[in-house]
Point group: C2
Chain length 206, copies 2
């Protein structure tokens, strides 16, 4: 029931949650088959992952959708509404700042940071672009839990080190470069070319 979840299970939880939030509140009970169908995972896998969380469905009936969503959200730490900072106010950073999904799905956007004085100021959606020197003071007291790197490759390692110094322990990296960070800092890389290569495989094998 407890202990850390296997990484692959962790990566499936957001998909279950997305499905549950999509059907609630109009649906009160969901079966593992419905969750499986809605999230592209096998029903056996769904039951196994959920039992890791200590969520037991009622045999022949299913899971209570609302309480299951709450349990997954809690396991993912979403109740804390962690603070997120974006570094890089170019096209990508601006697109990410505009992305409504972050607030809607459990996060608190703090600000966007950039070195370029011309970019400092409020964005159309109200979020501030601040000078990068503000990152460390803004992060004190755990106000920023996750840093998103949306800079050119050349700046990514510098920004990652700034984030780590500021006490940020989780980094989402959009720059196509490997980051060196101390143990205890989690980095996820969103590699867009990888996504295209996976699609390409299906065309080639098709």
């Amino acid at each position: 029931v407890s202990g850390p979840l296997p990484p692959a299970a962790v990566s499936r939880l957001p998909r279950y949650l997305r499905f549950l939030e999509g059907v609630a509140p109009s649906v009160s009970v969901v079966s593992s088959e419905e969750i499986a169908e809605g999230s592209g995972v096998s029903a056996v896998q769904v039951r196994k992952d959920l039992s890791h969380l200590g969520a037991a469905g009622t045999r022949g009936v299913g899971y209570d959708a609302t309480s299951l969503a709450k349990r997954i959200g809690k396991a993912l730490g979403l109740e804390d509404r962690l603070g997120v900072a974006i570094v890089g106010a170019g096209n990508l950073g601006s697109a990410l700042a505009n992305y409504q999904g972050f607030e809607a799905r459990g996060f608190r956007m703090v600000a966007v940071y950039d070195v370029d004085a011309k970019r400092i100021g409020p964005l159309p959606n109200g979020l501030d672009v601040r000078h990068i020197d503000r990152l460390a003071p803004d992060a004190t007291g755990g106000q920023i839990s996750i840093g998103i790197i949306a800079t050119p490759s050349e700046a990514a390692q510098f920004v990652a080190s700034l984030m780590v110094e500021a006490g940020i322990r989780s980094i989402l990296n959009f720059a196509p470069t490997e980051l060196r960070v101390p143990a205890g800092v989690a980095v996820r890389r969103v590699d867009l070319a990888t996504e295209l290569q996976i699609l390409s495989y299906h065309l080639a094998a098709g």
Copy 2:
């Protein structure tokens, strides 16, 4: 040796390739342990995935890096330099159009498409923004294999249907919405909030 690869194995191949391209041409032979280390996968898994591709390392020595990279690239269909179109010339589409990784990693960027006449014209990097009406004619003869949706959510399904009508069989969707497409069309969704939720789990689990 052959037959379709399991989906999880397919998703690991781009990581192996990225590692191999990073070490070549200065390194000629790599062990499965080195590939594992460089791509965050276990060595057993690496050997299993590569044997699926029919790539056998030399016992106690390893794999020839260049020929292994070529074999993976071939399996992924990268030799064909598939054509990629982006629909949506806002911040996200512009960021994607500027992303150098696509051309460098085996793709041919065709153009960006938008409905907004004010956005039509060349981007700073030379890629064209064209009216969405040009998508279908540009796609004839298989000139566009992969479509990237970088529009607001409300437009995503409409764009996906246009892509399918134009003969595009692989779609990378950045809009936070589920797409309905006919069988035989592959969709991958890049869900940015999911990435944050996975990082959040690691913070919550401490």
